[in-house]
Structure formats: structure tokens, C-alpha cells
Amino acid sequence: MKELIFYIIILTLLILMIPLYLTQGAVDIHLMDVMGEFARTNSESADWGAQIFWKVRLPRLVLSLVCGSGLALAGAFVQGIFRNPLVEPGLIGISSGAALFASFAIVVMEEWINQLFLLQIFSFLGALFTSILVYFLSRRSGKISVLTLLLMGIGINAGIGSLMGLMHYLASDSQLRAITFWGLGSLSGASWEVVLVIFPFVLLLYISIPILAKGLNAFLLGEKEAFHLGFNTERLKILVLLIVCLAIGAIVSVTGIIGFIGLVVPHIVRIWGRANHFFLLPASAILGGFLLLLSDFFARILVTPSELPIGILTAGIGAPLFIYILSRRIKEEG
């Protein structure tokens, strides 16, 4: 019952948000112009509006829903595996690896940066490279210890931090600005091609929901407990890491680093009182999509005709919320 109410609230908000998102922005579009394409009024502005609608706004809407749900789902998966509500995919080095490779591309290969999705390919490789590195460093006799994985992630993140510093040092002023912007995230690269490239990776996460939810529920009791309940815990960990790395790698390569969605969304769902993954995972996906859409809406309209990097908004909303949740927890635990 509680679950149903949650779905109804979020889906209603989402449906209300969509027309607002599509019409407002640097150029206001009247939905009538778009819909009325067949009975065209022949006015130039209507044609212009339709162009923006189909080629810019709509793919961007889809992209923010796909990325938001992907980020939130990845967060929920990782928190389940680590059995810790304060973990996000970035902790195992995925995002920082992507950031390092992306800045490398920006600094060293500036001339080719806009060709052939070079930046995107590099950051995707960076995400994969670091997560594979962290994974193999945490492996002992065929098993991965979740705690070691976390600690290795911290170590790798620190190492990458220093290399990032080097990139900053080597970068020219304009390159530095590009790196910073990339690190704050943006959905402005949206196009149908980009959506098509990312979607299969995020689809992996969607498909895994019914397959992995039962095992992740058992993981809530403990890794050992999950094993004794008959689950193949090693396979579960590897599968989760794999799909999360692929999805986050793909998302980050297009949008840059968008923080806090993966951390905060599953948290909000849990506050609703259900930790059961059969609810947590789909609910996180929907809420994540909605929150990123909302953030991107404000990112676009707050400083028109320019736009804010979306990371500023997600962290700006996410951080206070996170602190509030933490302090409430501390209060509860006395």
C-alpha cells in the first residue's frame, strides 16, 4: 500500500514535470506549435520551436530520465552489496577514473577532442580501468572482500587525486575551465545518438532488478547469511560490480560527474520505510529520473540564456539533505 502511494506520488510529479520541462527554457516553446505541425501555421517561430523540441528538448528529457534512473539504481545496487547506506559508486574509483582520463584527453589531445566522441571514449575507458584495477587489487584467493574493496577504492581515489592535480597544473586556462565544467556535469550534450549509446548500458541495470533483488535482500542480513541462504555471493558481487561499472562509465562519459543522485535517492526511498529491493530498486530508478529532470530543469532556466552545471544543483540539494538524514540518524541512535 505504502509502495503504491510512493509510485503514484512520484509518477504524478513526473507527469506534471514533463510538459513544463519541454516548454520552458532559453526558448519557450508552445506545445501547440509542435503538435500543430500537420496543420502548420507557416510561421517561422513555430517551425523553429518544433525543431528545438524534437532535436534538443526531447532527447534531453529522455537523457535526464535515463541518466537519473541509472545513477540512482547504481547507487542502490552498490549500497546493497556493501551493506552500507553511505556508499556510492564513486567510492570504488569509477567516477574519478573517468574524470582523470577525461582531463587527460582535454589537456593532451585538445585538437581532436571534439571528434569521434574522443572525450566520451576516454572517460568510459577510465571508468572501466580504475574499477577493474580496484577489483583485482581487492581479490584474495578468488574472493573479493567488500571491506577491502572499499579501502582500495579510497586508496585509488587518493592516487587519482594527485594525478588530477598534475593535469590541472599542466592545463592551460581554457583547458582548466573545460576540466572544471566536465567535473560539475551537464546534460547539454544531449542528442538522440547519445541517448541510444547510453541506453543499453542503463538497460542492463533495469533488467537486473528482478534477477538480483532477491540476492541483495539476503545481503541485507550479511554476506555470510546470504551464503548460508544458498546464494552464490561471489557471483552476485561480480555481477553487480560489472553492471554498475558499465552503466556509470557510460553515463559519466556523456554527462561528466553528477554527484549525490546515487547516494541520496536510495536513502530517500528507504526513509519511506522499505529496504526490500523489490521496491527499493524500481522506486530509486523512478525517483532518480524525476530528481535529475527537476535539477536539469532548474539548471536550464535559472540563468537563461546560459545554463548552470547540473552538479552544482544536485550537490546543492543533495548535500543538505544528506546532512539532515545523517543528523537524524545520529539523534535516533542517541
Binding site: L220, L221, G222, E225, F227
Partner: protein, 274 residues
């Protein structure tokens, strides 16, 4: 139910277990005693299939446990580790429900099993409470309900009704392994938990638990095993094992042993005072 033969295990050159043989029959409650660091936990992990012995085999229902699939193993033996920390908001019935994960989902049957396990461990009144809000004794009972729920088969209902008073050996109900189920609980709760386990053994479950309290072991178990230096020091009924000379040998302490006044029927309980 469980047969372990010639179990040996070593870490590097240090021998942890040497040629352990033991048998756990249906409806039997065995307690494993011994000092810390004598290999109790290792033996426990080997018997539950968590670790492989260097040599020797463990049979569960006459089948080698490492040849079984995870699901098959989970349907026949359940394990309660020493401590269970849950960081997420789960309600009591959700925790108990996890015990159904090795089985195909069947809403009606599952509900019965969950309810029955909660009844046997006396936690039905806690059903909708959050696990994290419970006291230590309540948490333990919830966990026991969960591992119990994991062993319930669909034919159980009739059997429990018909044979709840006397022990019924021909029904292979599965084995429960518990690692120190009463640690950190007050005396009353310790007895409450042990009484639940005793009852479960009486209705046909095989129970293997690690304890540190010789009094409880004497009062509630059918057989007591004492482990020392990775070998079985003694194995027998409480009367045979809880003896002055054995306590002195294992712990190096002088103990007086008194017969307990409320020994259970057919029991052989001892009480130790130092």
C-alpha cells in the same frame, strides 16, 4: 543427518583440526564446548560448508556437502552466525521471510511457514516492528525464527501437529547450526533460547551449537563435545562428559559438580559451581 569423518584442517603449518569424527542424528541437540582458539569456529565453518577441510568429508543426508548446490544445501541446513548486524530498516516478518529464499515463492505456504516459525520462537507479537528497534534477546529469537523458516518444508505442518510432544527420529527435518546463540543475553533469556532449541530438537530438527556455558550444555543437550587442541577431547552424554577431571584437564580449574534438581525428563543435567 550429518556425518563428518577424518576432518583435518591447517593454516600454514599450524594444525587447527586433526582427524575429527562426529555424527549428528535427527532430533539430536549437540553442544560443542572448549576454550577459545581451540578450533571450534573452524569446525563449525567446515560442518556448515563455508570452508573446505584439507582432508576428510562432511556428509549431509548422506551426500557430500561440497557436491551440493547452494540451494540444495540451504534447504537442508541453516546457520545462525554469532552476530547479525542489519543496517537497513527491515521489519521482523521481512527478516523471517528471508528464510524462504531457497524455495520457490508460494505466498500462502510461505506465510504459514513464517507464522509457524515465529510461533515456535514466540515472536508473533513483534511481527511489524523494525528489527533494529528490538532488544538483544528479541533479535536472537527473530534470527532463530529465520533459520528455522529456512528448513520448513511444505509437509511440516501435519508433522508438527501430530508429533509435537515426542521426538520423532524418522523425519529428516534438516539441521540447524548456531554459533553461540546465547552470548550477551541475560540468564533468563539464555534459558528461553535454549528451551526453544530443545523443543526444536524434540520435534525432529538436528541442532548443533557452540556454547561456552557448561551449565546450559548440561541442562539442554543430548550430547556434549569438548574440543581441545583441534581434537575431540571427549564426546558423550552430559553425564559422561561434564566431570571434574575433564573440566580440570581442559580449563585447569577446580570445579564442584552438582546434579541439577530440575533435570529434564530422561535428562542427565549437571550444574557446575566454581
Amino acid at each position: 543427518m550429518i556425518q563428518a569423518s577424518d576432518i583435518s584442517f591447517q593454516y600454514g603449518k599450524r594444525k587447527i583440526l586433526e582427524n575429527i569424527n562426529l555424527n549428528l542424528s535427527s532430533g539430536e541437540l549437540i553442544t560443542l564446548l572448549g576454550r577459545n582458539g581451540e578450533g571450534k569456529s573452524t569446525l563449525f565453518k567446515i560442518l556448515t560448508g563455508e570452508m573446505r577441510p584439507d582432508s576428510g568429508v562432511v556428509l549431509l543426508k548422506k551426500k557430500e556437502i561440497h557436491a551440493m548446490t547452494g540451494i540444495e544445501l540451504a534447504q537442508n541446513r541453516s546457520v545462525l552466525p554469532q552476530e547479525s548486524l542489519i543496517n537497513f530498516p527491515l521489519r521482523v516478518f521481512e527478516v523471517v521471510e528471508m528464510g524462504r529464499s531457497p524455495y520457490k515463492k508460494n505466498k500462502f505456504e510461505d506465510k504459514q511457514h513464517i507464522y509457524q516459525s515465529m510461533q515456535l520462537t514466540d515472536i508473533t507479537h513483534l511481527e511489524y516492528r523494525f528489527y533494529s528497534e528490538l532488544s538483544g534477546g528479541e533479535k536472537k529469537r527473530v534470527q532463530i525464527a529465520r533459520v528455522l523458516c529456512q528448513l520448513q518444508k511444505d509437509y511440516d505442518n501435519d508433522i508438527i501437529r501430530k508429533h509435537s510432544t515426542k521426538r520423532n527420529l524418522e523425519f529428516n527435518k534438516g539441521a540447524l547450526f548456531l554459533d553461540e546463540p546465547v552470548n550477551a543475553l541475560d540468564v533468563l533469556l539464555q534459558h528461553k533460547i535454549m528451551k526453544i532449541l530443545r523443543h526444536l530438537a524434540d520435534i525432529g530438527y538436528s541442532i548443533f551449537c557452540i556454547l561456552h556455558d557448561w551449565n546450559l550444555a548440561g541442562l539442554y543437550s543430548d550430547r556434549v563435545l569438548v574440543l581441545q587442541n583441534g581434537k575431540i577431547h571427549s564426546d558423550g552424554t552430559p553425564k559422561e562428559v561434564i566431570r571434574k577431571d575433564i573440566l580440570e584437564d581442559v580449563f585447569g580449574i577446580q570445579a564442584n559438580i552438582f546434579q541439577h534438581s530440575s533435570a529434564r525428563v530422561g535428562g542427565y543435567s549437571e550444574s557446575i559451581s566454581l
